[in-house]
Symmetry: C2
Subunit: 422 residues, 2 copies
């Protein structure tokens, strides 16, 4: 094992506690042989045989007695290099590393296939929720047309607080940090990067296409305001940060951003730090998998599940499952070509005669207005908030509309544009 942080410690203590039971369940003997750490003398919460610890990765990667490498270091390097070296030495690899898999996944999967070893990464998305395994096996007969996922617990917690209690983004984030739901530097969660990593991994499997991080459009949640939740509720919507991948013929659009979703949908009801992944398949219909998407216990469940699978595969001398190497000729196309409904919140300086002007800006770009809310008349008789819901429109047109709206003298600002997902 490479790494003895929160996940590594839980895997190690799980092995110490439950090894016999797990061996029994698969009928194969298992042994933790060596663990890479940075500092041999560090005091650790997990009781582990000190003689297992090493600071030399090569003493693991080059040891021919080690069959399976468990990588729980996190971050791209040196994890990426170690994984490649281990595959090169014919070792099976189990990784919980979403960054490596999002950026180099398709390449590493091909490397592992040519080397005839397993590269297992159930823990990289959705903690212990079974999703990679089912996509590679149980659900393999399906053609999927969409994937909608809440795959970042930190932001889901923050959005839930903002929605239910009307607190500000900053205040909800502060609470999330205090409760340990957000890391000291939460920027990768807040700006959608973490969700984009996981979405790239999932979309590859769902659509049998090579998808990597750069194919994923992303926006974070920091621009959301408590008032957006109020207006959304008025229209019957909840606001969630979703990872979405849609297939249109042979094109894919893959994106992470806040969306308005109808409040009666299951994803709208996912509370707190829970994750949920919704898939629409031609045979299976709509499937939702819901569970804890992070934390040392759930993640260790996935890591150990993969270790047991690698063990079985070694024991039975099996070639690994085919991965995402089948390119079914789908193309990832840019966000510009997305067609969706929009929620647009503006503040107005002057209400008089503004609606025809706004309608004309939208009309010129083929954006038609579905409904309007005007609210919060301010002291000088102007209308502070003006919220528009559109019919399905082209993303590139909406992008052109925004500067045109801002340049109207009656419009103080376009505060927020949020896409709608039904």
């Amino acid at each position: 094992m490479l790494g003895l942080g929160v996940v590594g410690s839980e895997v190690a203590s799980g092995i110490a506690r439950e090894l016999e039971r797990w061996e029994q369940r698969v009928g194969i003997p298992l042994e933790l042989i060596r663990v890479l750490v940075r500092d041999l003398t560090k005091l650790r919460p997990v009781s582990i045989d000190q003689s297992l610890l090493t600071t030399e990765a090569s003493s693991i990667i080059d040891d021919p007695n080690i069959d399976v490498l468990v990588e729980v270091l996190g971050s791209i390097e040196p994890a990426n290099t170690y994984i490649r070296q281990a595959i090169g030495k014919g070792k099976h690899v189990v990784t919980a590393n979403k960054e490596v898999m999002a950026v180099y996944g398709p390449e590493l999967i091909e490397l592992a296939e040519s080397a005839g070893v397993n590269l297992l990464y159930e823990a990289s998305v959705g903690g212990g929720m079974p999703i990679i395994g089912p996509l590679r096996k149980d659900l393999l007969a399906n053609e999927f047309n969409s994937l909608h996922a809440i795959i970042n617990g930190t932001t889901n917690y923050i959005l839930g607080r903002m929605s239910k209690e009307g607190v500000s983004f900053e205040s909800a984030l502060l609470d999330a940090k205090e409760l340990g739901y957000a890391e000291p530097d939460p920027s990768m969660d807040i700006d959608g990067t973490d969700a984009a990593h996981k979405l790239a991994i999932l979309a590859s499997l769902v659509f049998h296409t090579k998808v990597s991080l750069k194919d994923v459009y992303k926006e974070g949640i920091s621009s959301l305001d408590a008032t957006d939740f109020q207006y959304a509720k008025g229209f019957g919507f909840e606001i969630k940060l979703l990872g979405i991948a849609n297939r249109y013929d042979n094109n894919l659009i893959i994106r992470v951003h806040p969306v308005l979703i109808p409040e009666e949908q299951l994803l709208a009801k996912v509370d707190g730090v829970f994750n949920a992944i919704e898939l629409n398949g031609d045979l299976v219909g709509r499937i939702v998998i819901h569970g804890l998407g992070a934390g040392p216990y759930p993640t260790s469940s996935a890591v150990i599940g993969d270790i047991l699978e690698a063990a079985r595969s070694i024991y039975m001398n099996v070639k690994p499952l085919q991965g995402v190497s089948i390119n079914e000729g789908l193309n990832v196309v840019p966000m510009d070509s997305l067609v969706t409904e929009y929620y647009v919140r503006m503040s107005l300086a002057d209400r008089a005669g503004v609606l025809p002007k706004i309608t004309s800006v939208f009309g010129d770009l083929d954006i038609s207005i579905a409904s309007v809310i005007q609210k919060s008349v301010n002291s000088d008789g102007g209308i502070a908030d003006f919220v528009i819901m559109t019919h399905p429109s082209l993303e590139s047109h909406m992008r052109q509309a925004i500067p045109r709206l801002t340049s109207l003298e009656e419009v103080k600002d376009v505060n927020n544009v949020i896409r709608v997902e039904r």
Copy 2:
């Protein structure tokens, strides 16, 4: 393939339509060789090469060129016999048959293991929802302490109508039949038998213990009244038919019956014919899998997923996964020993002095009352409905309480006793 009914037809037409894609995904050639039907001349909605049809099971079971038997006949016999014969001939078996698996599952799994063939049955529970696969693989590291499942779409549809619209059981059932959600003879759904079949299959896997149909306590939904839903709502509960398996130390209680569950729980929000399975594991925490639990398309998704797994296993010359043959020494104990809260609805002939008498009946049996609703004063001044919620109490004591309550002269009838599950 044995059978060309709704599921068999969908599997056959899927193979006709998608074979090439599926072959590509697993890298293995597949061929549908022969299909057992009852009548060669029957007109069928699926276009299938007539030369594949046979009325002789032996022409499939005894053909050494056939590697995988797909059993989609339903019912126990002759399916059970054919499955045994096929295993005996060294064929891998894919089955969608919940009845055979609920009654003979542990035995058939052992037979298949000794013969070194796969017995795959993902389609027997929850349609295309991935559950058997994840339990055998991805979630294998967990010790589960409970399983709660909505695994019968017909009854979930009926209960949803009763809850939302206040219609009677009979009227909701009639609509379910008209919409094709209930079969012409729906008794196996209504009385909990269908859910009990599926629960037996799931509980075996979840607890690594041999569980069969006779171990499952069951009650159906026909005694529920629209008023029960109203009172339940007053206490903050929804009523659902759940399959439940709880582990207490080394004991299991396995049961299907209507329950009151808190309305904020995810299972309370499962609508219409959807199914949902909730598991609580020591590592993974609470996981919920939600999807369509029946229908030819979802079921064919699971059947084909299993066919592809069997194909891979033949191609790679792999021994099958170990099944539920590890007996971890858990005992299924009778319902009598269940401790739970109860909802008790009575009709009273006379209100005067009745509460002390009821309290005394319960008190003598160590059942303590948590809250009471008295409602619907009828014309002669008596109280028609009297609803009690208890604190956790022993099932055997509640069973003794009911005749004692009925024998009170003030009590006209004990109309319904429903267990509460939090």
